[in-house]
């Protein structure tokens, strides 16, 4: 079964090729079959491989499939090789499985779009690149997938390129992530410089022997990799691109937020955990970044009116949780939250897409309302997703995964009470803005007619994902509730476990859990009061000058765009403008000038008089033969 | 030294004999034409009008040697000599009999072709130096005709070369001991004969000098001895072509031994000269485009096919 691993990333690429080359001729039905089918078969193979992996793990808990040699220059040898271990299996599973449901959903969502096959081509390429990223056994292949993902996000965000705003958003996403990628590339150079190889496993085994804990190079390398990770995963300070990325079609957003792209950073840090453990400073920075991001994104999420932007900020916030978990060393908790998040965030985006489709492509949720009756399936699944996001205690998967992170933020080796407090407060905010969205959208008066009632292609993905968002959490239960550790046991082969350190203080853990649960419920009630029962409290507050200012501040994502505009863009543009005629530019102005002068000189020789040409030949012959004779 | 003397003798002998024959041919042609056209021909000067040649010679020698003032003088003078020289040089390779040959070159056949192609200059230069539109037209025709017919004249002889395995005329003659090449190379013979008529621009292919259209064509402006040169050149050409036909296709000097080889050779040659004259007496002149299309569209392909078939048979037999 393992031998079929290569098919997993190949099929989406094949689908992309077919769609890109023959998309126009295939027609919509065939395009959909190719687009969805390739991911579907990939998902099926992944699941079969996963079952095999669970029943009889490969030797060394990892399966490596070397396809061919990519580059071989002196010491620099890079293979096209796939590395499958528990970590990459989880990612592969999520990418293909969630990706499949998103693809299926897209068939209906994009049904009326004229660029139907182009959309599926991009989506397939996206999935393929992401699979390459998580399955690549060396950092260069990972980087290839990494950039492929970046390219696809650019293509998909700017999918409706006729609107220049979408193109702007696409460029913004591309350029901002490029900042991180540059840092990551330097990090890769540094790693290659230190270890002479880019193979991940070799680096991980060599690192502890080469570097002592706290080694400067290790810190620098990990911080540079972190730069790449924050760029891709939209963490502070490079989070600004993700809310704008909502310009793309909603399934794209689902794919970016749930299965691919933004989780690449999480994967990178989890994958390179070996060297992060050698750099506690970097770990701490990761935790700080995660905590700060989850709070800032949470605040920004509080005031958004666009339903997709709420979800975007919630993603940033949830990824922040994952970074927090990575930072404190709770590797499996981060991956667990990643998986659960993938389920409920995909569900929420697809639900939001269904709503937007039903509301004449209106995205402002304050113009909606009362959709619970009109779209019952969407409502209930959306509610489940929201509950999972808000971590409603006991019944939702999100509770278990988030609870693990919150507890580890305190109890783990790198954790402390401040990080814990930030995580708990973040959970409260999350619950609040999530249910603000639910109440505003589904309750109250219906304001716009429902224009599109979803069919089975939308409903089935929603229900399946809702099932996982609800019950996916039971594969890993905290120590206080049965201590069921299937998931972390599974991951133990790839990532170091944390349990022994974490579960010493049971009463504290109970306190933390109960506090989180209560806060989540309170936040839901608060949202109910403020947005359904007495909305005038909010309007009264926002009418005051301070309230209005605060609302604007939060709405703009805490002014990061404003800040970057002034801090980077304007000075850069100013420098570029004032430096228009610099030395280098003069050189490049001189080059065409010179070639033009030569052109004039030579065109003068082109007199059309054959005898002149022959005279030229004679002169040339004299010169060259004279040289020969003299030499 | 005696060898050199022998060669000198042959050279002088050939020159004298050929020039004499050429002169006599003038009388011979007129007599033959008259015979076929039921009239007397020259019959007043000497027995059978034989001295008519001498009379003509005297006339030509004493006529004013006039050069048209608008002509290109040196070329005008030079032109008539070319044909005489070229044809006389052509006789150098003709094997009159075993041992009686000026130069038995191993490329004799090619040499003959080269010389006959040089003959074309005579017409060309004569016409162009005359600065006369009829002459110009005549020499245009002549040049085109000679170039065109030269092509397959050479090709038609290649069959002979294949059969005899040599370019040398002596060897070609010797190769015909058992069978004259006219039998296996009948097509080649016909083509060569037609091309020969055209090469010497004799009637019916006398378009360069067609009296009725171009008032004597390229030599309109010529008179006196220079005209005589053209005249003699033409008869020399006929003799050369006839000799060549005899050599290539009719076994040259070969023949029953009751007559010496030289006599056989001259008999054969005279037979073809007579055939030339008979052609003039009997055939009308074709149009210029007919001449050209005959050459390019019929004779050239035919000669190529002949060459191809001959070569193929030779290969198949394995000679």
């Amino acid at each position: 079964m393992y031998d079929f691993l290569w098919l997993v990333p190949t099929l989406p690429f094949l689908g992309f090729l077919i769609l890109a080359l023959f998309g126009k001729k295939l027609g919509k039905t065939l395009s959909a079959f190719v687009g969805v089918g390739s991911i579907g078969i990939s998902a099926l193979i992944t699941i079969l491989i996963g079952i095999r992996f669970l029943s009889s793990p490969p030797e060394g808990d990892a399966f490596v499939q070397t396809l061919w040699t990519w580059i071989a220059v002196d010491r620099f040898n890079v293979n096209i090789a796939l590395h499958l271990d528990a970590l990459s299996l989880v990612f592969t599973f999520v990418i293909t499985f969630v990706g499949f449901w998103i693809h299926l959903y897209s068939v209906e969502y994009m049904a009326d779009d004229e660029s139907f096959s182009r959309f599926f081509a991009y989506m397939n390429l996206f999935v393929g690149a992401m699979l390459l990223l998580v399955l690549g056994d060396n950092l260069l292949l990972l980087y290839l997938g990494w950039e492929g993902v970046g390219l696809c996000s650019y293509l998909l965000i700017g999918f409706w390129y006729k609107d220049s705003a979408n193109g702007y958003a696409a460029r913004k996403a591309f350029i901002v992530t490029r900042v991180g990628d540059a840092a990551m590339a330097i990090g890769l150079f540094l790693l290659f410089y230190s270890f002479g190889t880019l193979n991940i496993q070799e680096i991980l085994t060599q690192a502890p022997q080469t570097w002592s804990v706290g080694n400067n190079l290790a810190v620098i390398a990990t911080l540079l990799l972190l730069g790449g990770a924050v760029g891709k995963s939209a963490q502070l300070p490079l989070q600004v691109w993700l809310p704008d990325a909502m310009a793309g079609p909603t399934p794209t957003s689902a794919l970016i937020h749930a299965a691919t792209m933004v989780t690449a950073g999480v994967y990178l840090i989890a994958r390179m955990h070996g060297i992060y453990e050698l750099a506690p400073v970097s770990m701490f920075v990761v935790a700080i970044v995660g905590a700060a991001t989850l709070l800032i994104a949470g605040f920004a999420g509080l005031t958004q009116v666009d339903i997709k932007r709420v979800l975007a900020y919630s993603t940033i916030s949830q990824i922040g949780y994952m970074f927090l978990a990575l930072g404190v060393g709770a590797w499996s908790a981060a991956i667990f939250h990643f998986m659960i998040h993938a389920f409920f965030k995909a569900l929420l985006f697809l639900g939001a897409g269904a709503i937007i489709l039903a509301q004449h492509h209106e995205q402002n949720m304050f113009k909606m309302g009362g959709l619970a009756k009109a779209l019952p399936v969407t409502f209930w699944t959306f509610l489940i997703g929201s509950g999972s996001l808000a971590a409603l205690p006991l019944v939702t998967a999100g509770f278990y995964s988030k609870d693990a992170i919150i507890w580890f933020a305190w109890s783990a080796e790198g954790g402390n009470i401040y990080l814990w407090a930030a995580a708990v407060f973040g959970a409260f905010i999350t619950g609040f803005y999530t249910f603000r969205m639910v109440f505003v959208t589904f309750f109250g008066q219906q304001k716009i007619d429902v224009s599109h009632f979803p069919k089975w292609t939308i409903h089935v993905p929603l229900i399946v994902l809702a099932f996982f968002a609800l019950f996916g959490g039971f594969i890993e239960l905290p120590g206080t509730m049965g201590h069921f550790t299937l998931f972390s046991d599974f991951l133990k082969s790839a990532l170091p476990a944390m349990e022994e350190v974490a579960h010493e203080n049971v009463s504290l853990e109970y306190f933390s859990q109960i506090l989180t649960a209560v806060l989540a419920l309170v936040s839901v009630y608060l949202a109910y009061v403020l947005y359904l029962k007495k909305p005038q409290i909010v309007t009264n507050f926002t009418d005051t000058g301070f309230g209005k200012g605060l609302q604007q501040f939060f709405l703009s994502g805490l002014g990061f765009d404003w800040l970057y505009e002034r801090l980077f863009i304007r000075p850069y543009v100013w420098i570029a403008r004032t430096n228009k005629r610099d030395f280098i530019d003069l050189f490049y102005v001189f080059l065409p000038w010179m070639s033009r002068q030569f052109h004039y000189a030579f065109s003068y020789t082109q007199s059309g008089k054959v005898r002149r040409y022959i005279l030229g030949i004679a002169l040339g012959a004299v010169v060259s033969i004279t040289i020969v004779v003299i030499l | 030294m005696s060898d050199t003397l022998y060669y000198l003798l042959i050279i002088v002998g050939v020159l004298v004999v050929m020039l004499t024959i050429a002169a006599l041919l003038i009388w011979y042609e007129r007599r033959m034409l008259a015979l076929w056209q039921d009239r007397y021909g020259p019959n007043r000067v000497g027995p059978f009008g034989l001295m008519q040649v001498m009379a003509d010679m005297v006339k030509i020698f004493f006529k004013e040697d006039w050069i048209a003032p608008f002509a290109d003088k040196w070329v005008f003078i030079f032109a008539p000599t070319i044909i005489v020289v070229a044809v006389l040089l052509g006789f150098a390779v003709v094997p009159f009999a075993p041992g009686i040959v000026v130069a038995d070159m191993n490329i004799g056949l090619l040499y003959f072709l080269a010389m006959s192609s040089l003959g074309a200059y005579s017409i060309l230069l004569g016409g162009i130096s005359s600065n006369n539109k009829y002459s110009l037209l005549g020499s245009l025709r002549g040049a085109a005709q000679v170039i065109s017919y030269e092509v397959f004249m050479g090709i038609s002889l290649m069959g002979v070369v294949i059969l005899s395995d040599s370019f040398s005329l002596v060897k070609i003659v010797e190769a015909q001991k058992n069978m004259w090449f006219v039998i296996p190379q009948f097509i080649g013979f016909v083509i060569f004969f037609i091309a020969g008529v055209a090469e010497t621009h004799r009637a019916p292919f006398d378009l360069p000098e067609a009296e009725s259209e171009l008032v004597a064509g390229f030599h309109s402006e010529y008179s006196g001895m220079k005209f005589g040169m053209f005249f003699v050149g033409e008869y020399l050409g006929i003799t050369l072509i006839s000799a060549m036909i005899a050599t290539f296709f009719f076994g040259g000097w070969l023949g029953p031994s009751f007559l010496p080889p030289v006599v056989w050779f001259f008999i054969k040659t005279f037979a073809f000269i007579t055939l030339f004259i008979l052609l003039r007496a009997s055939l009308p002149r074709p149009r210029y485009d007919q001449l050209m299309s005959l050459g390019w569209k019929i004779l050239l392909p035919l000669s190529l096919v002949n060459l191809l078939v001959t070569a193929a048979i030779k290969l198949a037999i394995g000679g």
Binding site: S603, Q606, S607, G608, V610, R611, I614, A618 | -
Partner: protein, 102 residues
């Protein structure tokens, strides 16, 4: 038999060649230029023949035949062009056909 050497032959060939070359350079008349080109080709063939003769090999003559072929084709096309030029410009001045200069 004779004291002709390869060098003598090559010198003769190069003299002829450069005379042809000079002809191409100094003549304005396309006809003369073509004639000069023929001289050059012939000189090149001459050099080949000398080289072949110095080795007693037929290759030089083969090369000459190829040059001959080329010369024939070149003359045919060249003269056809010349006629066209003459019909178009009413002159054989090679400078007249310089319309396509840059």
């Amino acid at each position: 038999m004779s004291s002709i050497s390869l060098n003598t032959g090559l010198v003769i060939a190069s003299i002829l060649f450069f005379l042809g070359f000079l002809g191409v350079m100094i003549r304005r008349n396309i006809l003369f230029m073509l004639i000069s080109v023929e001289i050059m080709l012939n000189a090149a063939g001459l050099a080949f023949i000398f080289a072949g003769a110095s080795h007693n090999a037929p290759d030089g003559q083969v090369m000459f035949i190829f040059i001959l072929t080329m010369a024939a084709a070149e003359v045919a096309v060249g003269l056809a062009l010349l006629i066209q030029v003459y019909q178009k410009f009413k002159t054989l001045d090679s400078d007249a056909a310089s319309n396509m200069r840059g």
